[in-house]
Amino acid sequence: MNAIEIKNLKKYYWLFKKDYKIIPWLFTKKGYVSIKKALEDVTLTVGHGEVVGIIGKNGAGKSTLMKIVAGITFPTEGQVSVNGKVGSLINLSAGFFPDYTGRQNIYYKGKIMGMKEKQIDSIINDIIEFADIGQYFDLPLKTYSSGMAARLGFSLAVFSDPDILIVDEVFAVGDKDFQKKSFEKTSEMFKSGKSILFASHNDAQIKKFCNRVIVITEGRIIFDGDVNEGLELYNRG
């Protein structure tokens, strides 16, 4: 069984002028202003241990594809099957609660992600060490800088030991030192046999990590295969 299997996936977003028009739309499919076709007929298979780079312009559908694989948003049509626990490095500090301390937030978000108390106990020291935010760990999250909150989120995501990892341009987290550290940690994961979807605009990173690349334009996959060929096609425009 493959890690990710996607068949004829479509994802449309209906846009409304006012929210209340959604309700009649649910029954009649009328009343919207326009349809945004984020993904159109996407078929993709990712095997275990494959590191797939996803490249495309802003708005091409990369994020939508990743969100669907992460189970955050639902496909409009088509089949998606994901085998394994998905960890996503998208929106790192989402789900944190500003009045809880860093420690409480790790337990809280860990439980949202479906972990048991004991599982979190066993990784909490790694997280403390990796996030490296010192005494802030036991202060409320609202006292953090946004970089610190993202570091905490990043640490939880990587130590929760996912089988499939979804990475969306996260190396901009924190300061230079932490960027280096997170880069190393992610590199480690990239080499540990996990299946990874990696969206980036950085050619060097794609070349370094990926053994396959897909190019998305206007919601369609226009290239799937060798990294260098894909990058060349994309950069040609």
Partner: protein, 267 residues
């Protein structure tokens, strides 16, 4: 329909641990910044009890109601109402207030309303202590029926979970509904025998009949039975209550099953 029901049921069954754990976290959310923490709930309750007691006293004097001291009558009605009103007012925002989770983490969406009900119930356990204290103070210890109480407490929990399954979906997708709903809630409070008794309208049996269609009346009168009166549940009314719960479960499951796909896109 069967698919929706079994989906919602299984999602709950598989996530009991999450419901319990996250319920505990959400319980603290409102009071975590304060010095007294959950103690504030206690103070709120005492003030409410006092205000309603004075109000009722000014309105109708200190005569007995349905054979109970009027303060005990009030409190045994107010306790379940505190639980239910908080679910009605705050719990119904469950989907909306957890939007950050829905739109960024994979999560079993249909259990979110249940988590909020759980949080409210845990938080409100203090209210029960107050009620116990006051009833015992008035010498009603010997009339307390623990089994009956557990039954009605459990029924209240189920009713509120099902209620919130339906309402939180509507509140999430429609602000119009939210406005309408909040204005209706005020009316519902006064339609229930919490600060007044059905005794006062015995001349209007049809009115009592209609008011009793509200399943919350079953819970409130049940609490009075458990605390003071000791009557066993009325068979006909009990059947009505549970059939209504089944219908609510079916309706709520279908609504959530359909709408869960849209929450992360539209809210």
């Amino acid at each position: 329909m069967i698919r929706a029901i079994s989906f919602v049921f299984n999602e709950h069954k598989e996530n009991l641990y999450r419901i319990w754990q996250l319920g505990k976290y959400h319980m603290q959310k409102q009071t975590i910044r304060t010095s007294l923490g959950i103690g504030w709930i206690f103070i709120h309750d005492l003030i409410y009890f006092a205000v309603f007691t004075i109000f009722r006293y000014l309105m109708a004097g200190s005569a007995q109601v349905e054979g109970m001291n009027f303060i005990v009558f009030l409190i045994t009605g107010l306790v379940p109402w505190f639980f239910m009103s908080e679910v009605i007012n705050n719990g119904s925002n469950a989907i909306k207030m957890n939007q950050a989770i829905i739109s960024s983490i994979k999560f079993p969406i249909t259990v979110i309303p249940t988590i909020e009900v759980m949080a409210i119930f845990l938080k409100r356990l203090f209210t029960l202590l107050v009620a116990f204290g006051i009833s015992i103070g008035f010498g009603y210890l010997s009339s307390f029926r623990p089994l009956l109480f557990l039954y009605y407490f459990f029924s209240m929990l189920i009713l509120m979970i099902l209620f919130n399954l339906i309402i939180s979906a509507f509140v999430a997708i429609s602000d119009d509904f939210n406005q309408l709903y909040l204005s209706i809630v005020r009316v519902i409070f006064f339609s229930m025998p919490i600060i007044w008794s059905f005794e006062t309208i015995t001349g209007l049996p049809w009115a009592i009949y209609i008011l009793k269609l509200n399943p919350m009346v079953y819970i409130i009168s049940g609490f009075r039975d458990a605390f003071v009166l000791g009557n066993a549940p009325d068979l006909q009314y009990t059947v009505y209550f549970w059939v209504l719960c089944l219908i609510m479960f079916a309706a709520g499951s279908m609504i959530q099953y359909r709408l869960r796909k849209y929450y992360s896109d539209f809210i």
